[in-house]
Symmetry: C2
Subunit: 215 residues, 2 copies
């Protein structure tokens, strides 16, 4: 899975350990997940920066969040076989269908980074995560998850869903948009960002949490 022999085995054991399997938090993967999340963000950020030399920063930011979002990372982790390797409380049937495997993947990136350094981690992420599991062309065509997901839920449940521009302000000469997610005519949540697209994604994301649709 790694493409190289691990140096520090203990590190990888921690990376694979969900907190449901350990009493002490230092033995679970949450700290490594924090580290791996940051390292993965940098590596994917660099990758996209170089792959799309003529795209704006807004475009790169959106592409990155399509790659490193929770759902996507969890799907990749399962395809990589990390579900079987993750050590967790298997009597908790909730965890089985949850998104803890994406966290394992982030923790694994953190472990590789501590074990082998940045450049090796970059190679690992390119060869073992991005190349086999991310179809950039397809990703470019896809809207971000949150809005899609919310539309899917609305369709299935016979609700109307609209995104409405609630406000436009100016900050530092930059426009700030507030977009609301409106379900059956009722304002559920709103999001603020420097463009309408991001603002509506934030609104959708908050609405998903609000409505308990996070799985």
């Amino acid at each position: 899975m790694l493409g190289f022999p691990p140096g520090n085995f203990a590190l990888y054991e921690v990376a694979l350990s969900h907190r449901s399997s350990k009493e002490k938090f230092l033995e679970s993967n949450e700290r490594l997940e924090y580290l791996g999340d940051a390292i993965l963000g940098a590596i994917v950020g660099d990758y996209l920066f170089k792959k799309y030399p003529y795209k704006t920063e807004g475009y790169l930011t959106e592409m990155r969040s399509k790659i490193v979002n929770r759902q996507q990372l969890n799907d990749i982790a399962i395809k990589m076989g990390l579900r079987k390797l993750t050590i967790y409380d298997k009597y908790n049937s909730f965890l089985k269908i949850s998104q803890i495997f994406g966290n394992t993947l982030e923790a694994l990136v953190g472990a590789v980074y501590l074990d082998k350094g940045y450049t090796k981690t970059q190679q690992f992420v390119h060869k073992r995560i991005l190349m086999p599991y991310i179809d950039m062309d397809q990703l470019e065509a896809v809207e971000m998850n949150h809005k899609n997901k919310l539309y899917g839920w609305a369709n299935k449940n016979g609700k109307t869903l609209e995104f409405e521009l609630l406000e436009e302000q100016v900050d530092n000469g930059r426009r700030i948009f507030t977009v609301g997610a409106v379900v059956d005519g009722e304002l559920i949540c709103s999001g603020k960002a420097f463009n309408k697209k991001d603002a509506s994604q934030i609104a959708a994301q908050q609405a998903i949490i609000q409505l308990g649709l996070t799985e």
Copy 2:
């Protein structure tokens, strides 16, 4: 300022160029800012991970956002002398007091990364940003900016400000808290997170945008 001779000068010129000074977006520092933000996040993430081997992931996340938040980075950039080096529309008096210098700093980190690689950038960030300008002990004691700032505004304007727990849900066995920022008894904004502290910070941050207090 860098501690080493730059290799690729053109890169640094782009890093110092605010979009108000350039017609083409590729000549301004926004793409480098995107890259530098990600690299800085990784380097600071790594730094805190190693500095605080017994702290939880929540603590590390909070400390990181205290370091890499917009206000803090802008303050550091000005102390480093980046205000004078930033190329921007100086007839725009708004930009002079704005936080575009923090963006220059992020873009500079991006330029160093492209010019010299990760390890050199790490040294640059440690020696030229963290060591001289970040007092970790003081930072540990400080509450995050957003709530403080909002309290400051409320005091100055004779408003009452309260943070109220609006809801508590369970997702993946993890609790999600919704905390509202209540000004003079009126709910202004809310935030969701896995702990009350973070949720109230998000609520405060959204309220600051909502109330137009972003400077």
